[in-house]
Every structure is written in C-alpha cells, then in structure tokens.
C-alpha cells in the first residue's frame, strides 16, 4: 500500500517536472514577456505596500493593527499571491478555453488526475523569481514585529496552507465554467475574491466578516494564519482554516465530477 502511494507520488512528481521544464523552455522563447511579467508583479506588490504606507502617514492604527502589523499581513498575502501567480494562475485563464474548444478531452484521456493536469499544467517562471521580493518583505516586517522563533518556523507552512485554501476555493468556483457558455468572467470573480481576502477580517462589518469566515471562508486565507502568528492563543480561526481546506478540497472532487457529467466536449 505504502509502496503504491510512493510510486504514485513519484509518477506525479515526474509529470510535474515535465510541466516545469516545458514552461521554462516556453518562457525563454518569449524573454520580453518573461521580464514584463516580473515587472507587472513587482508593480502590484510595491503599489499594495505603498498604499498602506500612505494611509498610515495620516492615521495611527487601522482597526486593531498598527503600521507594521498591517504591512506584515499585506506581505503575507503577497506571498500567497506570488505562489498562486507562479503555480496556478495561468492554468485558471486557460481553463475556459479548454472547455469551449473541447481540448479538455485530451486531458481526460491521460492516465493522470484531470484536476492536477488542468490546474497545475502551467507555471510562470517569471513569477517564481519574485519570491525573492515577497520573502524579503515578509522577513523585513516579521523582524520589525519581533516574531517568535515558533512563528518563524510556522510561517512557511502557514503560507502554504493559505495557498491551499485560496486555491481550493478558486478551483471550486472555476468549475462553474462547465455550466457557462463563456466562462472567462469567472476568473474575474476569483480575482475579486483575492481582493477581498487581501484585507484583514476586522475591516468588514460583522455580517460580511462572518459570511466570509464561514460560508465562503476567503478571509481565513490570510487573517487566520497572521492572527495566529501574532497571538498563538488566537487559534480558533486557524482551526477553521484547516477545516476549510479539507472541506473545499472535498467539494472540489465532488463538483468536478458534476461538471464533467455536464461537459459536452467541443459543443459545450
């Protein structure tokens, strides 16, 4: 049994290695696009951080957080954004075309998980390099906040959990494209959700905050882990985050099957 699991993991790892290599070759053929992608992400990161700085030049606190705390939160969210941009973003944009053109057929025929092939097929090597910037700012603001040793050790795992929750929710939402004539608009819904999650839970009113922490738990992506890092006793939202990950990956496997059942190849 264990041997079987390991051989499957190895198989997926080998396939992913192939995906990575082809994406690197492709990006090297379009070097200007590669550079522009890096610049675009950097512009976004800098403008997000600069906005917070400008606001804090006029106020002491926003909600319960001071400048460093909110900047650390934003840096954490940029870290998740960088992972998403690198590993899955491109695939989300190509998914509606796969459904519309019927090219999804070829993916379904392959002896590998279709969800994996659809959502992890394309990697953006340019965005990978921006990890230097995002980890740089996370570390800088973490140092300014004197994070504990435990918090520093937990940080990479929490970032990964945030990435997993965000993308489980986004993949579930992307599945709605199976039922749409033109699904590219769904990608804008995903982006709006990212925008909502990019601010801490306490800026929203109680009802909205409760909905976005439970029904559609996008505020758990960043608020739960960062609150946990600031105060280890604030663990309830963090547990909610764990539950959210399990729940949404479960929903994904169910809704994917439903979507496939209504998929009509090129005519859909």
């Amino acid at each position: 049994m264990t041997k079987h699991i390991f051989s499957r993991i190895k198989h997926y790892f080998n396939v992913y290695q192939g995906f990575v290599i082809t994406c690197f070759i492709e990006s090297m053929n379009f070097r200007l696009h590669f550079v522009l992608l890096i610049l675009m992400d950097l512009l976004f990161y800098i403008s997000a951080l600069a906005s917070i700085h400008i606001i804090y030049n006029h106020v002491e606190t926003i909600g319960v957080w001071n400048r460093e705390q909110l900047l650390f939160f934003v840096a954490f969210m940029l870290g998740i954004n960088q992972l998403t941009m690198t590993f899955v973003s491109e695939s989300y944009w190509r998914f509606p075309e796969l459904i519309r053109s019927g090219d999804l057929d070829f993916i379904l025929l392959k002896p590998i998980g279709a969800v994996f092939s659809v959502f992890f097929r394309y990697l953006r090597p340019g965005s990978l390099l921006n990890m230097i910037f995002t980890w740089g700012v996370i570390t800088y603001y973490g140092l300014r906040l004197n994070l504990s040793v435990f918090a520093w050790c937990a940080l990479p795992f929490l970032l990964l959990l945030g990435f997993l929750l965000q993308n489980a929710i986004e993949m579930v939402i992307s599945c709605s494209m199976f039922w749409m004539l033109e699904g590219s608009g769904v990608n804008f819904v995903r982006m709006e959700m990212q925008q909502l999650a990019r601010w801490p839970d306490f800026i929203y009113n109680k009802i909205v905050s409760r909905i976005l922490m439970t029904v559609l738990p996008i505020l758990l992506i960043g608020s739960a882990p960062v609150r946990f890092l600031f105060n280890i006793n604030d663990w309830i939202p963090f547990m909610g985050m764990g539950l959210g990950i399990l729940l949404f990956w479960g929903i994904l496997s169910f809704i994917w099957q439903l979507g496939l059942a209504s998929y009509e190849s090129a005519s859909s």
């Binding site: 106020v59 926003i62 004539l181």
Partner: protein, 268 residues
C-alpha cells in the same frame, strides 16, 4: 455621409449584440469588479475612521470620503470601459487581414466597438447615480446639474484617453507575443496614481504636483472631485488630457503603420 455613419452604427449594433449574448460575462468582467472594489474601499475607510463622522483625514470626513469613492466608481464606469485583449489577439492570429480590404479600418472598427460599450457604460453610470440619489438619501450624491455635466464631460475625455492607450498597447502585438502584462501593469499604476484607492490629498505634495502633468489624476481624482461639486479651472484639465490623448493617438498611428509593414497575414 449617410453610408459612412451607417458603417459605424452597424458595427456598434453588432457589438451590443455580442455584449448581450454574454450578459453574465459582461457583468462579471466590468461591473462586478467595480462593485467589489467600491465595497472594499467602503469597508476599509469605515474601519479607518472607526465609524466617526467628525474625524477628518486629508480634509475628508467619513461621509465625504465615501462620497468620493462612490463618484470614483461612477467615473470609472464611464472611463475604464475598453480593453485591448481582443485587439492584440486579432493581430497575433492574423485576423486583421480582413480589415485591410474592408472599407472600414481596424481603428474605425475598434473605435465603434468602444463607442458601443461606452453607451452601455454611460447608461449603467446614470442608473447608478439615480439609484444612489434615491437610496442613499442625498448623503453621498449631491445632484448638481452643472458639476454633473462637467464631470461626465471630463470623464468622457478621460474615457477616450483610456481607449487610446488600450488601442496602442493592443497594437504592440505586432512585436510582442503577449500585451496583457503591459495593460495590467498600466492598470495597477493607474489605480494607485489616479487616487482610485487613496485621494490625492493624502499623497506627498511634490508627488501630486508631478502627477498633475500626467494623465493619472484625470482618470479618477479630478472627475470624482468635479462630480462632488469641486470644479477646478477646466483649461488645464482639458489641456493635459487633450495633450496625452493626442500624443497617444499619434503614436498609435505611427505604430500601426510600422507594424503593418511587418505583418505577414499569417499572424505574428
């Protein structure tokens, strides 16, 4: 004259039909993001002010700040209606050959499409203004015909500038494989420097002085302030916007001519 106008009108009608076929997609791509962006700003600024209307930040009370962001959203509906994605695809895939033999040029076709979209966006903006006027009990919407007319006029000028920039970036597809990175980069810069997130009064003074020579403030800040009833001297506003629009249009013309000499009709 009549056949000439008829071509424009026919193209606009086709664009309206296309937009109406994918109504949900249009809503998700254009209107949805604006509403979500407005909701985030409403939540953020309410949280910054702590709900107190007597506090002033950058000269704004909470209701003035919310009113400003409401007008930014309405101005944005009129200004940021065009996108360059289809345009670059037409060039990259070699679809522009037909425009070279049609008695309706590529620029005319896309300008007609932009006008069609602009008409819809103006209707949506007007409906939003009327709805806000009745729903928000005149708190955020000061319905002054003069400022409203001037504000919409400036927004239409800025809308043309935005279309011209989009068009220019789109036709860079003669040289670039992907142009969306430049468009998104420009959008990020525009959101930040135009005062769409933070009013320019909160920015450092020197920076604002420089910004007034660029088109950025005229995309959100200036139209929103005019719509709020603060009408600045109009000559510099029209002068700067006119200069940038003319410059971008002339560059587009040269880029198109140069690009066409490289075009092979089989895509780029």
């Amino acid at each position: 004259m009549k056949p000439f106008l008829s071509k424009w009108f026919q193209t606009m009608q086709v664009s309206w039909s296309n937009l109406m076929v994918y109504k949900l997609n249009f809503f998700l791509q254009i209107i949805g993001p604006m509403l979500v962006f407005f909701f985030i700003k409403l939540s953020l600024w309410s949280s910054i002010y702590g709900g107190y209307d007597y506090v002033k930040i950058g000269g704004y009370t909470l209701s003035e700040m919310l009113s400003y962001h409401l007008w930014v959203m309405i101005a944005g509906m009129i200004i940021m209606s065009s996108t360059a994605s289809n345009l670059s695809e037409d060039i990259r895939l070699g679809k522009i050959s037909s425009y070279l033999i049609y008695p309706f040029s590529f620029w005319e076709f896309h300008t007609a499409k932009y006008l069609a979209r602009q008409v819809i966006q103006i209707v949506i903006a007007l409906v939003t203004i009327v709805s806000c006027y009745f729903l928000l009990d005149r708190l955020y919407i000061a319905f002054e015909p003069v400022s409203l007319s001037i504000g919409i006029f400036v927004a239409l000028l800025a809308g043309y500038y935005w279309f011209a920039v989009n068009y220019l970036i789109g036709i860079l597809a003669f040289w670039l494989d992907e142009t969306w990175t430049i468009m998104v980069g420009l959008q990020i810069m525009t959101y930040f420097f135009s005062g769409a997130i933070i009013p320019l009064e909160l920015f450092p003074e020197t920076m604002v002085e420089i910004l007034y020579w660029t088109p950025f403030p005229y995309i959100s800040f200036v139209p929103a302030k005019i719509l709020m009833g603060h009408i600045p001297p109009l000559l510099p506003v029209i002068g700067v916007l006119g200069f940038w629009s003319l410059l971008i249009t002339m560059i587009s013309y040269l880029v198109w001519k140069k690009g066409l000499s490289l075009y092979t009709a089989a895509g780029m």
